[in-house]
Symmetry: C2
Subunit: 354 residues, 2 copies
């Protein structure tokens, strides 16, 4: 029986996408060749790449608005570097909401002044800083929309004339936002988009070409845009599966549809965390992520019993991040509401046993 | 019917590897989860990564000799940059044997003096330069063992005290070499190792940590070695399929075995190119690649007939690189001798028709 997969990433993908991906590894497009043994410059694969790039813009409502989508390699972690390499002239503003924001800040420091305009480090990053000021002369403002490790999510983004650069690795395609507010969005594929191995970057083209430093070829967004994500051999399989997942989302009704499902899943689980006396949420209520719900047992002596129960129910990936502990239920786009119900049932069973 | 896949890369992989990869996309390790939806820190995947790293060293005979193997992202093109970032203090020597060597030279120039010690540019790179001198004070000597585009291959490597860095993207695991001669070997996976999306780098650890510049986290070999290729989420699927392919090669008898097969395939095809008056080889005979055989028709008016014939015989990927023209038969490890025979038969049929 298929497991209830609450893994934080790589994570659950739609079953029909896995089915198609599995078939493509043996015989792609009925062409008697595997997807992974054809040239990336073959008509079949060029079509996949073009479709992936256009679906990304379409789902976000960013077509014909000066944005380009590229699929790169190296994960969001390489984007921490590329963003600074391509955009940081003198000074950039960063919001520090945890591990990933921190890593982005670290990489940027080699390229200019980095202003930490807000931070929730004082309380283990269990809330999103608010009321911070972004200096008007900053080259850009960088933020992380969702923090997988602790389970916080930005519900609002600042009103500013400064370019907003956003790491949306763990909640892209999960909720409607005014995406035109952002000049650069990047996301490792391995949450709501596809398997690990590719990174989507969406860039408002007009912000590029302004730094004076020489940018190495493979780190230069302008190169990747000009070469349509084929500056070198792309991560073929990961791009293909991402394309399938975006097509699946589009067919379902896009972000508008999935946001409602995601809200239902999150509401169901958080209501139980708040109702059930055996559990406590880890982060500030108003900043709770719809993607990653973190919680602990109020009585740690129940840990073994609870772990045995959810594991026996076919639940996978519920342990919290090693730096936080407790539990983390990741409810990405492909996770059915039913899986959350199974978890909630177990939480209630535990309460009844006690 | 499965095609005879002469694609230059991404290219043919062993059928049994494709079969296992296809199954793993649906159900990995009989765990009721897909390979691509489990945590990269799960026991199952950590084992895959460790096996991939150790198989790479084992196949090359580099175990317990001070080398580390890491699986990165970004392709060999990102290695052009990383090699220079990590190793170039003042001056490096490069051998220019074509497009890829050229690109490596371009990236290195931002980091120090780049000495082109030899070049075959004068004759469209259709031979390997010989008799060049490597200055003893060079930080390293960089070469490309096999040149996919034109079809040349280095049959010998210089005797020098300088560290040899080699891009083996298109012939790694295809032939026995004294691999201890090299201090750094890198290879994009998508030829003899696996699908596109990961890059193998093998590094003699003692050569690292000597440059003074600050190296960005994701470009720092020492970081990737310390984190055992898990500095961030690796390209899970590509690493898994690479591991399977290396295991397949080991089970067959390793490089020693496959080299004999590769030599037979190359001998069969080159003999026909030389014998058949309708065809001419493109590169110097002594530098002919066993991986990529390039040739042209002596009478271009036969092009349409020949193309129709090989295409009808189920041959795929025989067109030459767009910068060279003519034909290119890539005969990587997984290509059966029989496929080469099919091509040779077609060449003889064409001759008989004429």
């Amino acid at each position: 029986m298929k497991k209830h997969n609450f893994s934080a990433g790589p994570c659950i993908l739609p079953q029909e996408v896995l089915q198609k991906a599995s078939e493509a590894v043996l015989n792609f497009n009925d062409d008697n060749l595997s997807l992974i043994e054809i040239s990336h410059r073959s008509k079949s694969f060029v079509e996949v790449m073009e479709k992936a790039r256009s679906l990304a813009l379409e789902l976000l409502g960013l077509e014909n608005k000066g944005y380009k989508a590229v699929f790169l390699q190296g994960g969001a972690s390489l984007e921490f570097l590329m963003v600074a390499y391509n955009l940081l002239h003198k000074k950039a503003a960063y919001l520090n909401t945890g591990t990933w924001a921190n890593n982005a800040i670290k990489e940027a420091k080699a390229f200019g002044e980095v202003l930490e305009v807000g931070s929730s480090k004082d309380n283990h990053f269990n809330y999103i800083p608010k009321g911070y000021t972004i200096p008007e002369d900053a080259d850009y403002f960088h933020c992380t929309s969702n923090n997988t490790i602790v389970g916080t999510q930005m519900k609002a983004f600042p009103e500013t004339k400064v370019s907003i650069v956003c790491d949306m690795s763990s909640d892209i395609f999960s909720r409607q936002l005014d995406f035109e507010k952002f000049d650069l969005i990047y996301a490792g594929a391995q949450k709501n988009m596809g398997p690990a191995g590719t990174t989507l970057v969406i860039i408002k083209e007009e912000i590029l070409g302004k730094v004076e430093r020489e940018i190495p070829t493979m780190l230069d967004y302008q190169v990747h845009i000009a070469k349509e994500s084929m500056a070198n051999t792309p991560s073929v399989f990961a791009v293909y599966v991402s394309m399938l997942t975006m097509q699946w989302l589009k067919d379902l009704g896009g972000i508008k549809f999935i946001e409602e499902v995601n809200n239902k899943k999150a509401a169901l689980l958080y209501a139980e965390i708040d109702r059930n006396s055996l559990f406590t949420g880890i982060v500030a209520k108003e900043d709770r992520s719809t993607m990653n719900a973190t919680f602990t047992l109020t009585d740690v002596s129940l840990k073994e019993t609870f772990d045995t129960m959810w594991s026996a129910a076919g639940i996978n990936g519920l342990n919290g991040h090693r730096s936080v502990g407790g539990y983390r239920a990741s409810m990405y786009n492909a996770l059915p509401l039913y899986s959350v119900q199974v978890l909630v049932d177990i939480m209630q069973e535990l309460e009844a046993k006690k």
